[in-house]
């Protein structure tokens, strides 16, 4: 089944894989935060990403704003959306069963999707600015500029988040909260407010992720499920609670996807990726469940 490949093909696949991996990291950060810290399985994550893409589209069409600027604007906008979601819905079900939370978030998914169709129809949208169709060529290796920009945005976000969680007192408190909620509360930490912050941040990364995806991929209000599957894959393989692990898992999956797509017939790529996810879940699932019960 393996096809013979040349070296340059492999190098190109490697480059594509790294860039793609960073994009995968970007869309997984929010899920990693909510799942790792709050134990919330946010199935509505991908609809928030989709809203990010439409934010970029609206800002471009109405105000002519470059998506890079939109990515910056997305941070406060989506932070606010996340805070509202947390306050109105998540906090109400946080202490009940996880399945109730799942149900609520699934409802959010359906509402956002339906509302997006009402507003933007189901037409496929493509975002075009000066650099979306340009690419650099180095030694026969082509690098698409929008992917490079997306990768850079991803790296910046990873760096910021990692620094925030590791070096600031708020970040440390968030990690403390995920490790021992009661101990955090008796240390004077208002865990409710921190949950708000975490969900806000997670939603903000989803928004930025959506803006970034729009530079590369066509989008419509309904094709977000594939990103949800991908984000889960990254989070599950990377394990919870560490931005760096999310980054590593994202890169790993990007590389696996692009390498297997030059090594195997393309139609089997997704079979391989899903199989990998099943195995990862079986191997890590119990560990994940364990770390989560500790967090709560």
């Amino acid at each position: 089944m393996l096809t013979t490949v040349s070296l340059s093909l492999l190098v190109q696949a490697l480059v594509n894989g790294l860039l793609l991996g960073l994009v995968y990291t970007l869309i997984s950060l929010g899920l990693s935060l909510t799942l790792g810290i709050m134990g919330v399985v946010n199935v509505a994550h991908s609809t928030l990403i989709m809203l990010g893409s439409y934010l970029a589209l609206e800002l471009l069409q109405r105000l002519g704003l470059d998506p890079i600027i939109s990515a910056v604007i997305a941070v406060p906008v989506f932070f606010l959306i996340g805070v509202l979601l947390e306050r109105l819905l998540i906090s109400r079900v946080a202490r009940t069963s996880q399945t109730t939370g799942l149900l609520v978030l699934f409802g959010v998914l359906v509402v956002i999707e339906g509302a997006a169709i009402l507003r933007w129809t189901t037409d496929t949208q493509v975002l075009s600015v000066s650099y979306t169709n340009t690419s650099l060529t180095l030694d026969g290796i082509a690098i698409a500029v929008p992917r490079l920009i997306a990768a850079a945005i991803a790296l910046v976000l990873v760096l910021l988040l990692d620094t925030f969680l590791r070096s600031t007192l708020y970040g440390k408190a968030i990690r403390a909260m995920s490790q021992n909620l009661d101990a955090a509360r008796i240390s004077g930490i208002d865990t409710d407010r921190l949950s708000l912050l975490v969900f806000g941040l997670a939603t903000a990364t989803a928004g930025v992720g959506g803006v970034t995806l729009a530079m590369i991929f066509p989008f419509d209000p309904q094709d977000h499920y594939r990103w949800l599957a991908w984000a889960f894959l990254v989070v599950v393989i990377g394990g919870l609670g560490s931005i760096r692990n999310t980054l590593l898992a994202g890169l790993l999956i990007g590389l696996i996807e692009t390498l297997s797509s030059v090594l195997f017939p393309f139609q089997y790529v997704y079979f391989i990726v899903y199989l990998l996810l099943v195995v990862a879940l079986l191997v890590r699932g119990q560990g994940l469940a364990g770390s989560q019960s500790r967090a709560l």
């Binding site: 007192l169 440390k172 009661d182 008796i186 240390s187 004077g188």
Partner: protein, 263 residues
Amino acid sequence: MMRHAADVPAGSGAPSPNGLASNANAGLSMRGVTAGYYSHDLVLNNVSLNARPGKVTVLLGPNGSGKSTALRVLYGLLRPRSGQILLDGREITTVPPQRRLALGMALLPQGRSVFPELTVQENLEIGGWLLARDRRRLAAALEGVYARYPSLKEWRQKQAGSLSGGQQRLVEIGRMMVADPRVILIDEPSVGLAPVIVDQVYEEIARLKEEQRTILLVDQNVRAAVALADYIYTLEYGRNNLEGERGAFEDRLEALIKSWLRF
């Protein structure tokens, strides 16, 4: 002298005959608290306690008598069904636990409570969460703790989860002391620790006592607790049982234990 709860008029704020009545409002007290976890059980049934300022108050009782629950209620981790919690006469019954620290209270919980994936230094910083807005004071408070417990300084870059049980206990104490609390609730400080560590922990509690902090200690290590105590309460089946000055208990500890063992 030692009194039986039955001698005290029911539902009273338990003004004791030891002159406590004169400053009943000082310190931390619990008045007529009834509490439980599920709808049908009553872990605490009309319990009243008072931890006097600058003193060590010890709460004793057999397993399942409601000692730890009393601490949870006092710190706001469990809301009582009825009754009040007072700090220096102000009602704090519904103040959530995260706001208690700002009132000068602190809780040293039973069992492991370090943040295992944070370093020792980070654990201590969390203890100084209330000082987050004032970096210099936070740094000073940390330095104070490091000076107080030099071994913490040695471990500062280690992950707390990698330390031994006794070392983790010290981290917990250190974390609590960053906030320099006035009223300290301690829950079963010796459970799960090796005997040699247990001794150290009581040494530390003794020092806290010397520093005139108000301490409420719940302990199954009766002798060690009584040795530190100024005043002692015992609970049985979630009700007040005996109370009195240390002197009244000291010689009768074996009898007390036997009464729990019923001999």
